[in-house]
Symmetry: C3
Subunit: 325 residues, 3 copies
């Protein structure tokens, strides 16, 4: 899916990008770079980044033409991909992303939003009182939007969707038959920045939130949009109340998350997974298909398909119950 | 308390109910069934359900005339109660509940809600800006309702209540002297459905939320209404911020829940209980009177009266502290 | 910082205060008491309170002229400070605070709030739709306030601040360059009261919330104001979504709290601290500088500078990982 919301200011010559990074060029200065993407999604003529050795299997297959990385990691790159060596990969990636997507850093309230009754949606959407809609919004047939909700700019809503009251959407694609209950915030920038003593440096969030068909999001939940990749909720996946989904998380289909669950950034969760209330999952993990995670668990490592785990740190539920007899 | 909000479409002949369940009738087809209720509340001529062996003491005393159950469990039923044998008790119960209460499945935003200044409450309620009120609402004397709050249809508020701003109430009975702070959602449908690969099947929530006298609910809390029984908060019970109370939970009097606590469905909590911050309690448990549960605990089994517990899984606090010296 | 919001009804003669407490006076009845403050902040002619032996080092240095305490603790007081002996220190403190600050107990919605377009802020603040502003509010240059947000009375906002949508502020001082995202409630009364069988007794919250320069508060967070002292977030400290900060908490500079963290009352957290998602910290603790607390941890004792901890209860991260290999 190409990015429907954040407009690419590129392409740029690689020499321009290197100049932004204050790196002296050693290679063909006129080659064009069309976009910045993560390792999975980068194509020829894109620039990507590689900062953790654990992604070494993925980097081998990247189609990117350039990769921001470190001296120590550069030898993992495939031949098609030229290394751009920096001290701090994430800061350099942030600077380049900002060059391509200057509007993806801050979430100022949407000044384009106006009352839905003053828009062409008036006749096709069944909306409550005081509903606001911003620019670049599409809404399908047979949708409900509750009182005081704000559909900020850059939102696509499919058919037969039900949005509750006091809910805020931005930078999101909502597919058909999705229900989002009251008091949610979907699509805000993720919690990503580089700590700095005087003033932390926020990095851009040009990813979006995608919520697929038939899913339901409970009251008071927050789903942050991705930084370079998207945050995505699979089909027919149900989230209970007060859940927090961080940036870049991907959750599969037919998955169930009970109340107050939290998923940290960039974690990938499979299909048919059940996660009990208040469980937390650390960032950058992979949770397989058909996994069951007990309520209150703290998951700090990958979980293979079909495993049932519980505890903090989470272990096999059999072991957990045995240890706590 | 008879259900003040969800209108019973019955009575039905038992033969009609069996037909809905696609069960061939073996008994008097013309007998009338007046309502569907849980084991505790079902009276003569009601239908109830029994799906977990742990409720075997309760089922013995049920006054219901019919009970949806399984082959394995049917022998626990008392003589007055005819078993209706099904494969999956909860799905069958859902189907029958939907027959009696067809409007209890989805929480669409309340289209009957209008500005309080356009209602007769204008002169008796001290309301902020942009307050909405739906049909079938009662509000007592000397109440305050903060800005942007929505009192949806099917709400009764007693005297001297204080409702904060940005709060949503529906399908709830709020007794005298209750305080509900900002950004809460009280009375939405619970997180109850039957997982199914293509499209989960939501079951009806015809229960309500009851908040008894002198209680207080903190900011950003969610209290879901019950499925067949009610969700109830006892007198003079105080909840801190960001608490989640699931469907069918019952909390006693003079109980205190600190911030971010979560209580899973159908759990019953006694009087004079103290629950520390971020503690979680699994579903279908019984927590006695005068219990103290330490902050961060994960309770996964019943707790007797007067116990002090802590840990995950929660155990006696003495043992917890000894084990973690 | 003197209290900018809650107006002191004093001074009172000490005899008047003793009468309120129903204590027979044994000392100079005409001496004047100008204010009630905590042990740190009380000056000459103030009254303070001392209820936990763990504060014995602090009580030695208090400048207060009077101190509400118990028979057992009175010998810790310095010579300049006269003990007022009571059965229950917190109840007596509550009664005296209420005498000085009668308006600090309940958070009724702000009836002075009106649409920002009907105020003089219209031309200097970039505000969304339906923004309300109460009495005694100051807003600096170049600020944004999102749709439906409510700046209740007693708020000071510095320059270049960004307030999201659906957010409520009261009794708070927001310094320059602060970002507060959507659906937050900042400055409500804390969860402080004396349990009582028929009707809990709320104690006053005359403290405020201070959020210092360059900080950011995530969506759906709640920060309660202090009871006698203030709740304070240091400079350049970033909070993720759905965080709860209880009354009297003080967080240092350059500190990072990930999603769903909860900090119980009166805990003090240092500078450059990192707290992982869903971690909880008990009340009345001291967390040093440069501490790292792993996600999901439950901290129940003080943590010295530079420590890295994880687990429930939290211990050294090395030990935690070893124990859970």
């Amino acid at each position: 899916m190409s990015n429907p919301f954040f407009i690419n200011s590129g392409p740029f010559k690689i020499s321009e990008i290197l100049e932004t990074l204050k790196i002296e060029s050693e290679f063909d200065e006129n080659r064009i770079v069309i976009d910045i993407k993560d390792l999975y999604n980068a194509k020829k003529d894109c620039i990507t980044f590689f900062h953790l050795k654990k992604y070494n299997e993925i980097v081998k297959k990247t189609e990117a033409s350039y990769c921001i990385t470190t001296k120590n990691l550069k030898d993992y790159l495939p031949k098609n991909c030229t290394a751009i060596i920096v001290e701090n990969v994430l800061i350099a990636t942030s600077i380049v992303t900002q060059k391509f997507y200057p509007n993806s850093i801050e979430d100022e309230y949407d000044r384009t939003a106006i009352n839905i009754n003053d828009t062409s949606f008036k006749d096709i959407v069944n909306a409550g009182k005081n509903v606001l809609v911003g620019n670049n919004v599409k809404i399908g047939k047979n949708c409900l939007i509750g009182h005081n909700s704000i559909i900020e700019r850059n939102v696509q809503i499919g058919n037969n969707c039900k949005i509750g009251s006091n809910t805020i959407l931005r930078n999101s694609v909502i597919k058909d038959n999705v229900t989002i209950l009251d008091n949610c915030v979907i699509g805000k920038k993720g919690f990503g920045f580089f700590p700095s003593q005087s003033k932390n440096l926020r990095y851009p969030h040009k990813g979006i939130v995608i919520i697929n068909e038939n899913s339901e999001i409970g009251c008071g939940s927050t789903i942050d949009r991705g930084s370079l990749s998207n945050t995505e909720i699979g089909k027919n996946t149900f989230l209970d109340n007060q859940i927090h989904i961080a940036h870049n998380v991907k959750i599969g289909e037919n998955t169930i998350l009970a109340g107050q669950v939290g998923i940290a950034g960039s974690t990938i969760i499979g299909n048919n997974v059940k996660i009990g209330g208040q469980a937390g999952i650390s960032g950058h993990l992979r949770i397989g298909n058909n996994v069951e995670i007990g309520g209150g668990s703290g998951v700090i490592k990958d979980i293979p398909d079909n495993a049932k785990v519980m505890g903090y740190p989470a272990k096999s539920i059999r072991e957990f119950l045995k240890d706590n007899r």
